[in-house]
Symmetry: C2
Subunit: 345 residues, 2 copies
């Protein structure tokens, strides 16, 4: 584990130490209405004198306009280059707060305190910051490492079950691409008996290993996209269907199933392995209802979204449980077939 990541019951105490030992000129905490209510009271005990910036929760607020508000607040607090911004929240707060800090006066320190399972195992590692622009996810941003990542699994108790399940999908993905033995062990344990104190560091370590091998996403880091080609298309497509929206991890779970099927179809993976993954995913995640009209639209979305040439898209597939291969071309028709397979399960 990199030395700037602190996980466990003592993580917040390590934040206290960091803020005390370093002479930051000012401390500012970025929250939304949820983390203000559920997480800030706990965090507060570990902070020196500080100021708050509150924004509205939700991906729809991850915009330049919200950044302008955050910068305005930072300016009104007279923050200089030696100030630190503490981002308390899920992916939106972390990505956007990280970006705002990275470009304020050409860069001040920031600390990530992820409060959702998804952001604890995924968003807080890898130095990606960013905001959405004209509906394009993370279109504007920078690579910048936080000064520290503070992961306290106790925050998960403040989350609805659906949110926990969503984050769990990224953990499963990490097993499938990098640690087959762990998948085997944990599919027996299941979600309800999951030991987050142990699973989070394991999952963060996998992500760190992958990112360290390819920090700027030139090649190998693409294995992290497993489940995301189809998953992201479903997520985006259903976002525009009121009442049918999925959480990120719920969409990725469908995507992983489809892309596992594609792996078999391409002769990379065995039918047996597909069965094991399928059984596990369907135990954890309710099946998402897709009708016939949806299938072609979702497949088209996957292509369009990545602006791939012609009718193929490069996808990350599984070679075996615990090993992924990236840049595997799949066609529009194959993606649609994989969705059909899912639909008929």
């Amino acid at each position: 584990m990199t030395e700037n990541i602190h996980i466990g019951q003592n993580a917040l105490q390590q934040l206290t130490d960091l803020l005390q030992n370093r002479a930051f000129s000012k401390v500012v905490v970025l929250v939304d209405e949820n983390t203000l209510l559920h997480c800030y009271p706990q965090l507060k005990k570990h902070l020196p004198e500080h100021q708050l910036i509150q924004i509205k929760s939700g991906e729809e607020n991850k915009t330049l306009q919200t950044c302008a508000y955050i910068w305005q607040q930072m300016t009104s607090f007279n923050l200089d280059r030696w100030a630190v911004l503490v981002n308390l929240g899920g992916g939106v707060i972390g990505d956007m707060g990280g970006f705002c800090a990275a470009v304020y006066k050409r860069g001040i320190y920031f600390v990530q305190v992820p409060t959702t399972l998804l952001s604890q195992v995924d968003a807080s590692v890898g130095g990606k910051t960013g905001i959405d622009f004209h509906g394009l996810k993370n279109h504007i941003g920078v690579f910048k490492e936080p000064r520290a990542v503070i992961i306290d699994p106790a925050f998960l108790q403040t989350l609805p079950d659906r949110q926990v399940k969503s984050g769990y999908a990224e953990i499963i993905k990490h097993w499938l691409i990098e640690d087959g033995a762990k998948f085997e062990e944990q599919r027996q344990v299941g979600l309800l008996s999951a030991d987050w104190e142990a699973l989070i560091p394991h999952s963060v370590a996998i992500k760190e290993r992958v990112v360290a091998a390819d920090p700027l996403e030139g090649g190998y880091r693409k294995v992290l996209n497993f489940g995301h080609t189809v998953g992201h298309a479903i997520e985006s497509y259903l976002l525009e269907k009121p009442g049918r929206e999925l959480l990120h991890g719920e969409a990725i779970a469908v995507g992983m199933l489809c892309e596992t099927w594609l792996s078999v179809k391409k002769g990379l993976l065995s039918q047996q392995e597909l069965d094991r993954i399928e059984t596990f995913l369907l135990t954890v995640y309710e099946k998402v209802k897709l009708n016939n009209e949806d299938l072609a639209d979702i497949a088209a979305w996957a292509l369009q979204d990545k602006k791939n040439s012609k009718s193929t898209i490069n996808c990350t597939l599984l070679k075996k449980i615990g090993q992924a291969v990236y840049d595997q071309p799949v066609t529009l028709a194959e993606i649609q077939e994989s969705l059909r397979y899912y639909q008929l399960l």
Copy 2:
């Protein structure tokens, strides 16, 4: 000279080579109405197929709003991460174009083609990018090195004399802080016989040396602020007085004179050296008229602008011609006195 800086008659040819040898996915050129008219026809001959983004010239357009327009254009051209943005213009185009490229999809390549003397010897070296925010200069930005800097002195022929004089002030500053012999030599030569082909590389090399010693402006780089404490205050103050606005370099010339006087007053510099600098600056630059009411306001501006504690401000002064010292405290009263000295010249 760093290998990514190309200066001289062949610089544009080196841009052609760079764009041909590297497989950039797309080339986009950022211009304003002036560089489109006066510089783009020359640049165009050296470019492969490309697209144009045009913005309005002027510091008042160096805003988040203009960035949003640039990003929108970049998006409409489907630029991916392997595209390159060529910034053709002065400081505004370079700073803002650099920033837009540095955060688009978490960073694409950019090339600076500075077209004013000021940006050729100053803005294009040092990796600073940024935009103004709520009237605060370069408040939002990042440190990011361009892929290349292409400096063609031929572009200076498109500039009004006043603009050339303005850039010359930064060249003089470089001599005063780092190369006393060059100052001695050039004060005999004067502006009209200045050999830009030789002076620009010399000046860029000084700036590079200073920046290399302190890339993130922690200490030594502050010597580049010589003339800027008082100069920037005058520039900002007169910006709000219609008809009295100064170009950046014109204000810095006044600032250098005041701060040279402060250097003598603090016992750092000899009266003789002040005389030499004063004679030279007053030969090149017309005296700026300041009335009694201006003096206190300008001094107050210098303090307020830097948000310094109490009534002192850290200033860069001269120890001798060719050597600067940074972090020298001066008081509001002393700044006002230096302005009075200038006023009575």
